[in-house]
């Protein structure tokens, strides 16, 4: 069972308490952007085998969104952080690098 700590309310939640929300830090392209950028934003996904940044919602708790850094192969969780970020914060990157020295952002 995947367990994540909600950074908004501090609760430790099992995955049944959470709703997965897909890839995090997608850059939104809208009117005025090129077709390639718009298609990339709408459809294309990283889908990495390894470290992944995701959106989650504490659906059966505080109801707020947050981000998580997780390994898709081992389900190891490197940390959770605020949804109000456009890229993973320094302390999350450091936590990943500490465990996966070869990993590149």
């Amino acid at each position: 069972m995947l367990i994540l700590t909600c950074p908004n309310c501090g609760a430790e939640c099992a995955e049944t308490e959470l709703a997965p929300g897909g890839e995090a830090h997608l850059k939104r392209f809208g009117p005025g952007s090129s077709d390639e950028d718009f298609a990339g934003y709408l459809f294309e996904r990283k889908n990495p085998r390894g470290v992944h940044f995701e959106r989650w919602r504490h659906a059966f708790g505080c109801g707020k969104w947050f981000h998580a850094a997780r390994c898709t192969v081992t389900l190891e969780v490197f940390g959770t952080y605020s949804a109000q970020t456009t890229e993973p914060p320094r302390h999350i990157i450091d936590a990943i690098k500490a465990k996966r020295p070869d990993w590149e952002a």
């Binding site: 049944t16 459809f43 995701e54």
Partner: protein, 419 residues
């Protein structure tokens, strides 16, 4: 290749069955192939077989990082059906189902195809109406399905709880020609037949990189780097269910695919009590009985990306709960094994077959939870696409460009399936 037959069994008996040859060769990699196929699962091997058989291309290698048929081909619940709503899906899945019918004879390998019938339950008014629509669409597409009422459901499958408290059975979509097959045998049969025509199957040969040369548009494939050395090729086919995103990244493009775990489980063997395949999509579970007597059970996929090949515990609980409600008779069965596979999901829940941004690289993937049933049809269409360099009639609608052009083949709402 020595043919398998009753005569051969008798003949070999005189030499204590010492004369049987290996089903496929394990050659050393050549330095160049016309076509390299990455992934020796059902789809990859079927593509190799039809490339050789339908298009005369035999300088073909199938690369596999592990052993052949060890991925999703050996992890599914082996259900075969073609009752899809959209014309493009109906065409490829029905071709696939019809190819399964005489595949044992064609491959000279017993794939144990059992057209026992597939029944999809309708347990809400909405589902009943959706299935009615599907049954009409199927009739127009020439697929043999019919909508049946609760009395017929009870007759087809006496162990179903027709008057369940939560979701009484209002009817079902019945495809009598659907069924099951021996999933490993599909990979083994295609591998043996393809090998006999000259295709090289290279197991324990993981692709670690894809070599490209720069062109004005997107580049061109030159070959692959593998754990058994570099191999050059004219065309490259990526057919790696569960790892499409990883291979696409090596080739320098991204796909509209996310990989999720999907799990299945089997019970202890019991006496025959279910001679069809039943899918209960509202409560989300499906079940059939294997020849050994085990109940083979499948459920829903996880909601988040993972390559774990095991899946979440609570999905097992949900699936088993759904099936206990539908089949109260199984409530005391013990489950023997549980496992997972990694399924590549696209947004519209339809596969991707066709060209990629890199010239000479073709992709076949994103079959989601429905890969097994489509193996022969997928291999057929993919072989034509690779051989001609352009998608054929079957593969055309499933191209990667359908997303940007808005030609989705929306089976996520249309398919009467547990996606």
């Amino acid at each position: 290749m020595k043919r398998y037959s009753a005569f051969a069994v008798v003949k070999e008996a005189f030499s204590y069955h010492q004369g049987w040859e290996r089903a496929w060769r394990s050659p050393e990699p050549k330095s160049h192939y016309d076509v390299i196929i990455i992934g020796a699962g059902g789809h990859g091997l079927a593509t190799a077989y039809y490339l050789a058989k339908n298009h005369g291309l035999t300088n073909v290698a199938v690369l596999e990082k592990s052993w052949l048929g060890g991925g999703n081909t050996g992890r599914n619940t082996s259900i075969i059906r073609s009752n899809y709503l959209q014309p493009a899906s109906a065409a490829i899945y029905e071709l696939s189902r019809s190819l399964y019918e005489d595949l044992s004879q064609k491959l000279n390998f017993n794939i144990m195809f059992s057209p026992r019938g597939v029944l999809m339950l309708c347990q809400t008014e909405h589902e009943l109406r959706a299935m009615k629509r599907t049954s009409h669409a199927n009739r127009l597409a020439g697929i043999d399905t019919e909508l049946v009422g609760p009395a017929r459901v009870a007759k087809l499958c006496p162990i179903i709880n027709i008057d369940g408290p939560r979701y009484p059975v209002l009817g079902g979509l019945w495809q009598p020609r659907g069924g099951t097959a021996r999933h490993d045998a599909i990979a083994w049969g295609y591998a043996r037949a393809a090998c006999a025509m000259g295709v090289d199957i290279l197991q324990q040969c993981e692709v670690t990189g894809i070599d490209r040369e720069a062109t004005d548009s997107g580049g061109r494939v030159k070959g692959v780097q593998t754990t058994r050395g570099a191999i050059t090729c004219s065309k490259l086919a990526i057919i790696v269910a569960g790892n499409s995103g990883v291979l696409a990244e090596m080739a320098g493009f991204r796909l509209p695919i996310e990989s999720l775990p999907l799990q299945a489980l089997v019970s202890e063997p019991i006496k025959p009590c279910l001679d069809i395949v039943v899918m209960a999509n509202t409560v989300h579970g499906y079940m059939s009985q294997s020849d050994k007597g085990e109940m083979v059970i499948g459920g829903g996929s996880d909601g988040y990306n993972a390559y774990t090949q095991r899946g979440s515990f609570h999905h097992v609980e949900e699936t088993v709960r759904a099936l206990c409600e539908t089949f109260p008779i199984i409530s005391r069965l013990k489950m023997l094994r549980q496992w997972g596979g990694t399924v590549d999901m696209t947004g519209d829940r339809s596969p991707i077959i066709g060209k990629t941004p890199v010239e000479g690289i073709f992709i076949n993937g994103g079959w989601g939870t429905g890969g097994f049933k489509s193996i022969p049809g997928s291999g057929w269409a993919m072989a034509a696409t690779v051989a001609k360099g352009e998608p054929d009639e079957l593969a055309g609608p499933f191209g990667l460009d359908r997303f940007t052009e808005g030609r989705m083949i929306d089976e996520s709402v249309a398919a009467a399936v547990a996606h």
